[in-house]
Amino acid sequence: MRGIKDRVAIVGMGCSNFGERWDSSASDLIVEAAYEAYEDAGLGGEDIQAAWLGTVSSFRTGQPLAEALKLDYIPITRVENACATATDAFRNACYAVAAGIYDIVLAVGVEKLKDSGFSGLAIPEAPGSDVTPPTPPPSQFAMAATRYFHQYGIPYDQGKLTLAEIATKNHHNGTLNPKAHFQREITTDQVINAPMIAWPLGLFDCCGVSDGAAAAIITTPEIARSLRKDYVLVKGLGLSVGAFGILRDDWDFTHFPETVRASQSAYEEAGVINPRQDIDMAMVHDCFTITELIIYEDLGFSGRGRGSEDVHNGSFTLEGDLPVNTDGGLKCFGHPVGASGIRMIYEVYKQLQGKAEGRQLKKADLGLTHNLGGRPGSFTCSVAIFGTAG
């Protein structure tokens, strides 16, 4: 196995403003993200040889991408892979270039969620016997929180405080990001005293629901070099799909094997030995605060049951030794499902180029993105690692 390391590069990226984009359609959001990417790369639609469109519920096919961007009868594939949708569209685009089939390709992720009239996440399901209990995402991850507190003997108030520190960290980062949906500081008291959504998770433990799109132009390192100096290299792409946790009565609900396995393959490709030391920044799937806490441990940033200590020590803040969700995360961007993965890559790309403005980290040479889709016990997880060209 040769792996993906250094075989493809990102030469242009775009990201729409995220939020309640009442006046924009999904196609409008695609145009906003793609044209920023074109401009960033110094390329146009006529240079794109193939494209991948990631969306969970906004479109069913690749055609809307062709229609929005007027692409020239090129092959387009629509990708849907739960919350890892955008990253998987990106991954498939990378593999097409690495295989030598195409030179320049486009990956776009988009989701328009705010037209449903329902403030939660409304995803239609296939007909069935409908006896599965209604467990929207907050309820699913709340069960992980309940068990996490129990397993590590964490009193409720202390557990809530740890989660609140994660939320305030991400909200602080969001204040430094003009593209974020939420750009307001919050306090740990606000988080702890917020209305309960799914106990023990309150309103500020949950990410928002937003509209948004993000795009990446992928090419070979050779072509990238001819276009710009600060292109970004793909170092590793891991994807793991598990569906066995809930069938097993011995699975603990406090670690997600899919994250462990996806990160292991990405680390192997990228040559990461000690993730806590080797990785400079990470954009992880903070759909809920408890998810981010468990991800620290699953990615090997913190020891098992030790995530809280690292949170209290500020390890994952912009000033910490391993900043996480520097752009504000899902907490501030919301989670337009099909767009989030490429939105995360956009932040890593900007940090690695030194163009992250007020959020810019001192050292950002190796960055990671992570998406977790599905529910505890049955996830699709993607982990991607990116490095600077130098």
Binding site: G128, D130, T135, M143, D249
Partner: protein, 474 residues
């Protein structure tokens, strides 16, 4: 010798009582939770009755209720799956009249006497809805009772029968009526209840050459306490001969009311005693039983007295009104409307959903729910056997409480249940007090109504905190 071999009961956990705000009554009545109906209560009563019986020996099931979930579609067939009874089973619903419970009992006795069935489970259950704050609502109660009928080892021998038929509109309800309708009280009482029951009981006694004093206990239907006591007196029975009608603790459970009293009597009666049950509705059925020397073997059953003690009184009337859908609500969430469940999927998943079968891998013995074609533990294919999880002891592994899931019963408690035998199930928890839920708490599984969409009543199992003989108000 035909008769009752075993019996069981089910009374929902919740009560409207003197301490319930807005209830305005000094007496207590049992109310079904929002996810209970006559069918789910019948399942629970059945489980209480057949706890230690070989389910494979039961070859008949009769369900009786004035409140079956469907106007057309049998309830007994659903109940048979939930109780995991055999497939070559005689099933029947008897509905449409308050005395349907005694009719069911009579049919079952006739069948075992004729030899067309060996062992019939009779389940009588009602959850009757009266207009909010009416007298009928105040005096009604929800509950179910179960009798196992056969010819071997009976605890109460079938001793006689007498019936009266009377066409009268005193209580009625058409298909589209939300509430039971009644005619003027004085007419219904004098020309209906009193006259008909008098004729029926006199008829029974005459037919069998008995006097009221020959009867040790009478389980007598009446709609409320006042009429019950005056009727008993008119019939020539002493207070000591009358089984307690439980108007201050349970309420009139409709088709299951006189039979609930019969079950309560059987809990304490002794050999040789003669017991009568008199049901009412478009006439009357009177059945007589003689208690044998067979001991009651119901150590694990709660029976009527156990369920009466295991209760929680609601804080306010509004909660009950929401459960019964007589309280308009708008949560403003614009949640997408639910699609109809697929009838094919429901049919295909009978064993998974209604019998609650998991599978045990033939290669490695790993228990998993739902049953898997490929074992989650050893990846062996298709080598499993069914294992019924509905009556397995289990505990809460983890849980959440969802405040925005759009349920009647906020918060919606979701539990991950681990069974002691192995196997894990994700399900809702019901009949729970939020402050008492914890990891590792022991649970039972209870068959409940999930929702009605497209006219389909969709049933499944939920976890409930283990019910015991303890008053849970403490």
């Amino acid at each position: 010798m035909a008769g009752i071999i075993k019996f069981g009961a089910y009374i929902p956990k919740y009560r409207l009582g003197p301490e319930t705000l807005g209830w305005n009554s000094r007496s207590e009545r049992a109310v079904a939770n929002f996810d209970e109906d006559s069918l789910t209560m019948a399942v629970a009563a059945g489980l209480d009755c057949i706890d230690d019986i070989d389910r494979g020996k039961i070859d008949g099931l009769i369900f009786a209720s004035t409140t079956p979930p469907y106007a057309e579609k049998q309830s007994a067939s659903i109940i048979a799956e939930a109780l995991d009874l055999r497939q070559d089973l005689f099933t029947s619903d008897i509905t449409g009249v308050l005395k349907c419970g005694t009719s069911a009992l009579r049919s079952a006795l006739d069948s075992v006497i004729a030899g067309s069935c060996q062992l019939i489970l009779v389940l009588v259950s009602d959850s009757r809805q009266a207009p909010p704050r009416s007298d009928v609502e105040r005096n009604s109660g929800d509950g179910a009772v179960a009798f196992l009928i056969g010819t071997q080892n009976v605890i109460a021998e079938f001793d006689g029968f007498y019936a009266v038929s009377q066409n009268i509109l005193d209580n009625w309800r058409s298909s589209n009526d939300p509430f039971v309708r009644t005619w003027e009280d004085r007419f219904s009482t004098e020309e209906g209840l009193y006259r008909v029951l008098q004729a029926a009981i006199d008829g029974y006694l005459d037919k069998h050459g008995l006097k009221p004093s020959d009867i040790d206990k009478l389980a007598l239907y009446a709609p409320d306490y006042r009429r019950h006591s005056s009727l008993a007196k008119t019939l020539g029975f002493d207070t000591s001969q009358i089984e307690d009608p439980m108007f201050d603790s349970l309420g009139n459970t409709g088709a299951a009311f006189a039979l609930m009293m019969l079950a309560k009597t059987l809990e304490t009666c002794s050999e040789g005693q003669r017991v009568l049950v008199a049901a009412y509705g478009d006439g009357s059925d009177v059945l007589g039983f003689k208690v044998t020397n067979q001991p009651l073997h119901n150590e694990n059953s709660l029976l009527v007295s156990g369920y009466l003690c295991s209760k929680h009184v609601l804080e306010n009337y509004e909660t009950y009104a929401k459960w019964r859908d007589v309280w308009e609500m708008d949560d403003g969430s614009r949640r997408p409307t639910a699609n109809s469940p697929s009838a094919t999927a429901i049919w295909r998943e009978n064993e998974k959903n209604i019998r609650l079968y998991g599978s045990k891998c033939a290669a490695c013995n790993y228990i998993q729910y739902p049953a898997q074609k490929v074992c989650v533990n050893c990846q062996a294919i298709e080598g499993g056997s069914n294992i019924r999880l509905s009556d397995q002891p289990g505990y809460v592994f983890t849980y959440s409480m969802d405040y925005i899931a759009g349920t009647v019963d906020v918060p919606l408690v979701i539990t991950v249940v681990n069974f002691d035998c192995g196997g894990r199930l994700l399900c809702m928890m019901t009949d729970r007090e939020v402050e008492n839920i914890s990891i590792d708490m022991p649970i039972d599984m209870s068959f409940r109504k999930l929702r009605v969409v497209n006219g389909i009543h969709n049933y499944y199992w939920k976890s409930i905190p283990k019910r015991g003989l303890r008053d849970e108000r403490d």
